[in-house]
């Protein structure tokens, strides 16, 4: 992921350019805006200071999601017990604690979507509150994997940590030379992930794909990539495929790490997965998934979607694809080479992971959603901390486990059990 300076139009002047552009003062404020807001406020009572402080400390309670009504009820009970009747009147509606509603699901969706599917079936509990285990981290994760009875955490500092999932103890610390980019995947012999350099950083380095030997905890192969625009790793038929250039896929032997071949596809690639004897790629800015024959790089099917395609992954009987700008999760039937369903997800879904119970977890920009394919229904939705990006690759901090998933929060790993498990 070297950044070609020829394509850095502002160079060192970016700060100044942003100052000039974002700093333009000539906004026209809609007439009457302040008055309209004040009029709306007139109908609301001010909250007591202690409730207001509590709300503001907790992000206006929006971040507390499903606990908000509980807290509100608790506040009323405390008010009754401590202060007696008068405060109850002040907490009543209007003028009570105007708790934030569960966010709506957003935009109108295309005809392929069943709008009844994926509606939020429950309120939004805080993810940390539902986590059953926490492992503290010293650096913010950029990618998380679960393989060889260990958790693997790449961070923005260019380190790959290996942790014991039972105790959280560090088993190994491996230098990557650049921030790790998810997904972290494993075959029977090795762990695979990509690195992303960060332009302008003294640590910037070219994009690479890395193979780690879990028996020695050492990087045993590093493949220099040619400025790819996407990330993805796929294992099929003893070969591990990765995105090695804007339109290039390269295979290495899973057992040996030896380079085998490269193929070129028609359009620049965003993400890649493998399964059912094929490579599945999402072309950048196209509303489709392309099925590619790894033997010769020919496209054997092009599956149309409602929106531009993003992250793609394989489960037992399906290919799952994010449609990040249409807020959709798509399921492709590989036998029919057709979309079998598209379900509401959340804005900018960046990663999809299956857990051992068969639930599909979608990591969106500010939410984590659990989807049950058997019921075709959303079974969990949780606000998540904003995850950083590596370059412009969103951090992919989900890893599946037997009965839940691991989520890489900014300073800890949280284990989130499957809803209903």
């Amino acid at each position: 992921m070297s950044r070609d300076r020829r394509h850095d139009p502002f160079g060192d002047g970016l700060d100044e350019a942003l100052d000039g552009w974002l700093g333009q003062p000539n906004d026209t404020v809609p007439e009457g805006l302040a008055r309209a807001a004040a009029d709306r406020a007139r109908d609301r009572r001010q909250r007591p200071a202690w409730i207001a402080r509590f709300r503001q400390r907790n992000g206006g309670l929006a971040g507390l999601g499903g606990f908000a009504p509980v807290l509100a009820a608790a506040a009323v009970v405390v008010a009754v017990l401590v202060l007696g009747g008068p405060l109850v009147g002040r907490l009543g509606v209007p003028g009570g604690p105007q708790l934030s509603p569960v966010p709506s699901l957003g935009p109108t969706v295309g005809p392929a979507v069943d709008p009844s599917i994926g509606s939020p079936s429950a309120s939004e509990p805080d993810l940390e509150a539902v986590a059953t285990r926490t492992i503290p981290l010293a650096a913010q994760p950029s990618a998380v994997g679960n393989a060889f009875n260990s958790l693997w955490i790449a961070d923005l500092e260019g380190t790959l940590l290996r942790l014991d999932p039972a105790t959280g103890a560090e088993q190994a610390r491996i230098g990557l030379g650049a921030p790790g980019c998810g997904p972290i995947q494993a075959d029977a012999h090795a762990l695979w992930l990509a690195t992303c350099g960060i332009a302008g950083s003294p640590d910037a380095s070219d994009a690479t794909t890395i193979r780690v030997d879990p028996t020695t905890n050492a990087v045993v192969n590093r493949y220099e990539d040619d400025e790819p625009d996407g990330v993805g790793i796929a294992t099929i038929a003893g070969a591990v495929w990765f995105i090695s250039g804007p339109r290039e896929l390269t295979a290495a032997g899973a057992e040996t790490g030896d380079l085998l071949e490269s193929i070129e596809v028609e359009r620049p690639i965003r993400h890649l997965t493998g399964g059912f004897g094929a490579l599945w790629v999402t072309p950048i800015r196209e509303a489709r998934v392309s099925r590619v024959n790894p033997a010769d790089g020919t496209e054997t099917a092009s599956i149309p979607l409602s929106g531009d395609s993003g992250y793609v992954t394989t489960t037992g009987d399906s290919i799952w694809v994010a449609e990040p700008h249409q807020w959709l999760l798509g399921r492709i039937d590989p036998a029919a080479n057709a979309a079998a369903g598209e379900y509401m997800a959340a804005p900018v879904a960046d990663q999809i992971v299956a857990d051992g119970r068969g639930l599909i977890w979608v990591l969106a920009h500010e939410e984590l959603i659990a989807f049950d394919p058997a019921r075709q229904a959303e079974v969990g939705r949780y606000p998540v901390p904003l995850h950083d990006t590596v370059g412009t690759v969103e951090a992919m901090v989900l890893a599946g486990d037997v009965d839940g998933i691991w989520y890489g929060a900014p300073n800890a790993l949280w284990y989130v059990p499957s809803p209903g498990g």
Binding site: H7, R35, A38, Q140, L156, A199, P268, P347
Partner: protein, 182 residues
């Protein structure tokens, strides 16, 4: 900001609050419209934020902190708006008059910046707006966002790099930008 107005509004004086709203609205609207890229969404966000400011004003301990405190509420409301809405269609920064070749180049640069900015996540857009529109230092950004200073610096760095990457992608693809760059 008039601290006396803040104190009076905290005591329930609605007229004082109306004056505060008049004094704050330009700044709040400018930030919301840049984060959300949509003047209608920004209008809603400012209204919601000001209502929340009124309701929670008694919780503000230091009237001098009103500016940062109200901006924090606005940013949070704008993020909620962004969750409910697709990515911004277009950032509305009003056009300047064009009278010569230099200004044509400036407009071209603005279009380039706008295309890059539209590809950023809401938190990246937010931190760039706080830095480059309001001119806040990392410590002040940290205060508005309720995050540690180190995290603010880190997020600011990555937001700049994301912007740089988006601009590079735009150049490489002749104006058609990929979502992901490595």
């Amino acid at each position: 900001m008039d601290h006396d107005l803040v104190r009076r509004a905290q005591a329930g004086d609605h007229e004082a609050f109306s004056s505060l709203a008049q004094l704050s609205v330009r700044r709040l609207f400018a930030v919301a419209s840049r984060i959300l890229g949509d003047t209608h969404l920004a209008e809603d966000a400012v209204q919601d934020a000001l209502v929340e400011v009124w309701q929670d004003l008694r919780g503000l301990r230091d009237p001098e902190a009103f500016g940062a405190w109200s901006m924090r509420i606005l940013v949070r409301v704008a993020h909620r708006q962004a969750r409910r809405s697709p990515r911004p269609a277009r950032l509305h920064v009003e056009a300047i008059g064009i009278s010569g070749p230099d200004e044509y180049a400036a407009v071209a640069d603005q279009e380039l910046l706008e295309r890059g900015f539209r590809r950023l996540s809401v938190d990246q857009r937010t931190i760039l707006v706080l830095r480059h529109h309001l001119g806040l230092e990392p410590a002040e950004i940290a205060d508005v966002l309720g995050i540690p200073q180190g995290t603010a610096r880190s997020r600011l760095h990555y937001a700049h790099e994301a912007m740089r990457a988006a601009l590079a992608a735009d150049a490489r693809h002749g104006g058609i930008q990929p979502e992901v760059m490595r």
